[in-house]
């Protein structure tokens, strides 16, 4: 990242008007975020991938499952931009459709993690005492089992398919969200306005919704971006092992797993999905870091 220049006026944008009226939180966020070229590029890449995934049938040049054995293991050409696999399926089209599975899977996993981690984190952070002690110990226990091992174990007792795999990855990630939300809740717990609300007879649930949740939102958004990166990586790993998305459907992880035999003679079949995974994970991580730097409170590290 660039060195910490003070929030001096950048040359672009409607900043000139901001001198007359105070800047909104959103305006400040946008201004800070725009300065981080890496994060902006990451966001742009994610948007492109999401658009490709949503409009896959229109974007992809071919059907991802359509086999054309005459094109088996074809190299890159004008017809097959990234070549074709052993069954003559177009790699580019499979990548575009694979983005659907990879992204959908990641969203599912993060949804599970959020539903589990966020409410429990808020309650634990607000209530403290034995509720917090129990919830934190459970989180610690889940975290002490290696993520992939626990995910595989959950998939092992359920059934290997995409949904179960994503539930497993969501469960594994939930304690990480729990920790972030809990510590954010603890830090606002002692604020005067919460005390005032309490004294005014406002119920704990209302306090959690109206005062704590907004304060938890910033660190949570950052964590969700990082969680999506983790989930894309985890889905790829699980599907690579054959325990996630089931053929003929293909996520990036499945494409990788299916083409390991072709590695020596047709490395593009491995590299294409590998690079796609890497760029997606990298983008979510860089975006998360960028959000973190843009959403931070006024007092920031030098």
């Amino acid at each position: 990242m660039t060195t910490a220049t003070p929030d001096a006026a950048p040359s672009v944008g409607p900043r000139s008007t901001a001198a007359s009226r105070p800047e909104t939180r959103w305006g400040r966020f946008v201004r800070r975020f725009r300065r981080q070229r890496g994060a902006v590029a990451a966001l742009a890449f994610i948007v492109i991938v999401v658009v490709c995934a949503v409009f896959a049938p229109w974007v992809a040049p071919k059907d991802p499952i359509d086999q054309d054995l005459s094109a088996s293991l074809a190299g890159p050409s004008s017809e097959y931009w990234l070549g074709a696999d052993r069954l003559g399926r177009d790699t580019l089209s499979r990548l575009i459709f694979g983005a659907r599975f990879s992204l959908l899977a990641a969203v599912q996993a993060v949804l599970v993690a959020t539903v589990l981690g966020v409410p429990i984190g808020i309650v634990a952070g607000l209530a403290r005492g034995w509720v917090d002690a129990i919830a934190s110990t459970i989180a610690d226990a889940v975290l002490s089992i290696p993520a992939i091992v626990l995910a595989l174990a959950i998939i092992g007792v359920l059934k290997p398919n995409l949904t179960n795999a994503m539930i497993a990855i969501g469960i594994v990630y939930a304690p990480r969200l729990f920790r972030v939300v809990r510590s954010a809740a603890i830090s606002v717990r002692e604020e005067t306005y919460i005390e005032a609300a309490r004294a005014g007879g406002v119920g704990t649930l209302t306090i959690a919704r109206t005062h704590v949740l907004p304060n938890v939102a910033s660190p949570l958004v950052v964590q969700i971006s990082l969680a999506l990166g983790f989930a894309v990586l985890a889905e790829a790993g699980v599907s690579f092992l054959g325990l996630g998305v089931q053929p003929p459907d293909a996520s990036w992880g499945v494409m990788l797993g299916q083409s390991t035999a072709e590695l020596e003679d047709h490395p593009i079949l491995v590299l294409a999905p590998g690079i796609a995974i890497m760029l997606a994970v990298l983008s979510f991580n860089v975006l998360g870091d960028g959000l973190n730097d843009s959403l931070g409170r006024e007092i920031r590290r030098e």
């Binding site: 226990a141 092992g156 325990l243 020596e264 590998g274």
Partner: protein, 314 residues
């Protein structure tokens, strides 16, 4: 110090208990009748019955957990569902390969990460620092199986410098053992190295600003002395913690690396168990790894307190 040890060990007990509950509770995630589900589509009535007896599914949960726990404490993790071989002896057979792999990659990730982080932190803001920062960000994002496959292809097959797959026990041939572990350990080490480099860099930057380092430099001590004697020694404390925490991650990622490099370790056995629905083996592995990591974390915390007396009180 003694109080720190006592307090930390006291926290270990509920953690370990919860790990056993998680490991045992996995069976309860099985939808419907576990025996029918585990036996699979084509199982006969007898096979289902055999699984029911083996897992003692007719008894209530708590009493099953009690006897499972008391067996586990004595080192009996039950038998694999289909082969009938004891889970403990299977884990024991597979452990040396996995531990060798993880040991090697810990060494490699420290050898790569600590110098890289030191240079980056010492020359903060330089082109080299920025290059290393970008490098570690990318390093964390590359899936370990992609690194593994590319290494196996380029170094193992195309260049032919090192064997691409397979494993030889250290007792058979230490030379072959080391040679065959280099590539998989390197693949595994890269993410860890990135993490260690980041931590070292942050530590060096932090310590470098402290008065004693500035005094040492002002007194005209040679850079190498200031860096080695004053800065690194203090910057290493948090790094030790990270290295400790890496062990859990490495165990997890070794599952993928073992699969790619065809290493007969715990991870590749676990994958077979997952495909076979071999619940006792899965439970045993989760329990064993969870216990090891809880203990390692406690050890890391205690050593942290030992090196840094300021944290003992809190």
């Amino acid at each position: 110090m003694l109080r720190l040890v006592a307090r930390r060990l006291l926290k270990v007990i509920p953690l370990l208990l919860l790990v056993t509950v998680i490991a045992f509770g996995l069976l309860n995630l099985v939808p419907g009748d576990p025996a029918v589900q585990i036996a699979g589509e084509f199982a006969t009535e007898e096979q289902i019955e055999a699984i029911r007896t083996e897992l003692e599914l007719d008894r209530p949960w708590l009493s099953r957990y009690g006897s499972w726990l008391s067996d586990a404490v004595r080192g009996d993790l039950g038998d694999s569902l289909f082969s009938g071989v004891s889970v403990r002896s299977q884990i024991w057979d597979r452990l040396p390969a996995t531990v060798s792999l993880i040991g090697w990659s810990l060494v490699l990730s420290a050898l790569i990460g600590i110098p890289a982080g030191t240079v980056a932190g010492w020359r903060e803001g330089s082109a080299l620092d920025r290059f290393l920062t970008v490098g570690t960000t990318i390093g964390v994002a590359i899936p370990v199986f992609v690194t593994g496959l590319v290494l196996a292809l380029v170094v193992g097959i195309k260049l032919g410098w090192l064997p691409a797959t397979g494993y030889v026990g250290i007792t058979e041939s230490p030379w072959q053992w080391a040679r065959r572990l280099i590539l998989p350990a390197f693949a595994l080490a890269l993410t860890g190295a990135a993490e260690i480099a980041r931590q070292t860099r942050a530590g060096v930057i932090e310590v470098k600003k402290q008065d004693f380092v500035r005094v040492a430099r002002a007194n005209g001590l040679h850079t190498r002395q200031v860096l080695g004697k004053h800065t690194l020694k203090n910057a290493m404390i948090p790094v030790v913690t990270v290295v400790g925490l890496q062990i859990g991650r490495l165990f997890g990622l070794s599952v993928l690396v073992e699969q790619i490099f065809n290493i007969p370790g715990l991870g590749s056995r676990l994958i077979t168990a997952v495909f076979e629905n071999d619940v006792p083996f899965i439970q045993g592995t989760v329990l064993m790894l969870g216990t090891v990591i809880v203990l390692v974390n406690a050890g890391v915390d205690i050593s942290y307190g030992y090196f840094n007396p300021r944290v003992r009180g809190s």
